[in-house]
Amino acid sequence: MSSLVRQFLVMMRANLAGLRRRMAISLSMMLSVALVVGVLAGFLSMAAGFEKVLTGTGSPLVAVVLGGGTNQETGSEISSEALRGIMALGGDIGAARDAAGHLIASREIVVTTEAAATSLALRGMDQAGPGLRDGVTLTDGRIFAPGMREIVVGETLARDIPAFALGRTVRLGTLDWTVVGLFSAGGSAFESEIWADLDTVRAAFDRQGEVQSLRLRLVDPAGIATLRQALDRITALPLTALPEPDLYAGQSGRTADLIRMFGWPLALLMAVGAAAGALNTMMSSVADRTVEIATLRAIGFGRVPTFLATWAEAAVLALAGVALGTGLSWLLFNGWQASTLGAGNTRIGFQLAVTPQVMLSAGLLGLVTGLLGGALPALAATRLPLTAALRARG
């Protein structure tokens, strides 16, 4: 072991042993770093949870056809002419067909409605619609019947809003609807939707003849390219075909970025405050250890180990804060149920996810906070007047 390492270890040991004397101020540094970590972890876990819900939604075996040059259902419109054109497409268009040779498809429309003072997405779909949701299972009740004001509700929504319990009647728009079924979709964004018969929804919300999207079952994930080529042959409004996961991932990106845009500046602002706190703590640590440091330097210990040992003390305290912050974040935030507005300003329920990536980002910010706050005091430790050692009472 080199002399430098031995010097560092002795000084580090002296620093850590003195922590008990500086308990209160050391704890305050730890807590301020933990707070920075907690705030950032909170925002990032929100963004991660939201992304997880939306990126986990949809199947690559389902294509969503949109009209009007948009890649979101909101603002999309597929004309009757275009619909007829698609349904009449013959040959291999990348989409699966039933035994009769018809495309397995669902015309759909999403209307924004309110219940229990919450903005919700009511999706009208053809009878094939539920079958085009891979990974979705009916957990209770049955699917809506054609022509009836019946709704099937995602479990997340039913859990968060008691009015959507099975068998209850709920007013959507100006009419009452009966909850006839509950479905589970592994916590994905589907679970925040209400499904009903397309024609009933269109009639109830005065949207006769409208279709926003067409869902098609693909023969395989690569079928999307063939479908796009086939859609180019239809000369009506421009049509876009997206794999279903891409549709939801596109929605998640914007909202998650927005959450991060709030989270990072707030956390960075707090980090500046915490770095100032760390600087104060470490300055007091250096002041407390003046005699020890000066004595060791008078004996011949170098500036480099003096700097590193003081800096390492700041790092140790910051790491303790990081451990506390990430630990508490995980306990408090991970799995916490939240909701936000998704596409069409409708409610999307999700769980906060304190992922390893979230912990790493928040932890690194906490560590950098401590290191920045500790650098100046570490420098100050190397510049202590050694004459302090000769006459000071240790």
């Binding site: 002399s3 031995r6 010097q7 002795v10 040991r13 002296a14 042993a17 003195g18 005699v291 020890e292 004595t295 060791l296 330097r297 008078a298 004996i299 011949g300 210990f301 170098g302 500036r303 050694l386 004459t387 050692a389 000769l390 006459r391 000071a392 009472r393 240790g394």
Partner: protein, 235 residues
Amino acid sequence: MTTTPDLTPWITLQGVRKGFRIGTETVPVFSGLDLTIPRGDFVAIMGPSGSGKSTLLNMLAGIDSPDGGTLQIGGARLDSMGESARSAWRAHNMGIVFQFYNLLPMLTAAENVELPLLLKPIAAGDRRARVEKVLELVGLAGRGRQYPALMSGGQQQRVGIARAIVTDPALLLCDEPTGDLDRKSADDVLDMLRFLNRELGKTIVMVTHDPQAATHARRTLHLDKGQFVEERKAA
């Protein structure tokens, strides 16, 4: 075997100037100080507060440097060395005994004594052997595992002396080594220093306020207003 000082000057100060800035003014402490100390000498430096004793000791220790003149110890020009060179020189050539012992409370007596050895390429086993040897020399055999807080002032100062001599330096600088001790403990420490000088040939420069402590030295220099005003040799 009792050793006697070599008459050749070993520590030499010539025309040393030193001042301290207070605001915009420089207050001179030394304005051309001369001093020679032969190897093997034991010099006590006395004088009133503000006479320059501590400043002189700090310069001899290399933790402060003169503004002018030359300061040479054993052929090494401390006045022309940089801070890190002086630090390295100090680690290899001198030991310092502090008034308040300056032991690290979280380390045992043996670990405190071992500190200067950590700067040298010495194996752990050899370091331990040397620590045991010097603890025995200062009368603390078997006390190495004790923490300073559990020791008397006299014992702590012995640990301080052991730490100062563990690297076998030629020069010992002692800053009021008995200033915090009762008479009995002070006499024990002074006897120890005398032993180190007489029997082991260490050159010792000791700053003290205590006239009785000074009687243990071979000679006493009186400093006043930055000048040596009197020299008294031990009987």
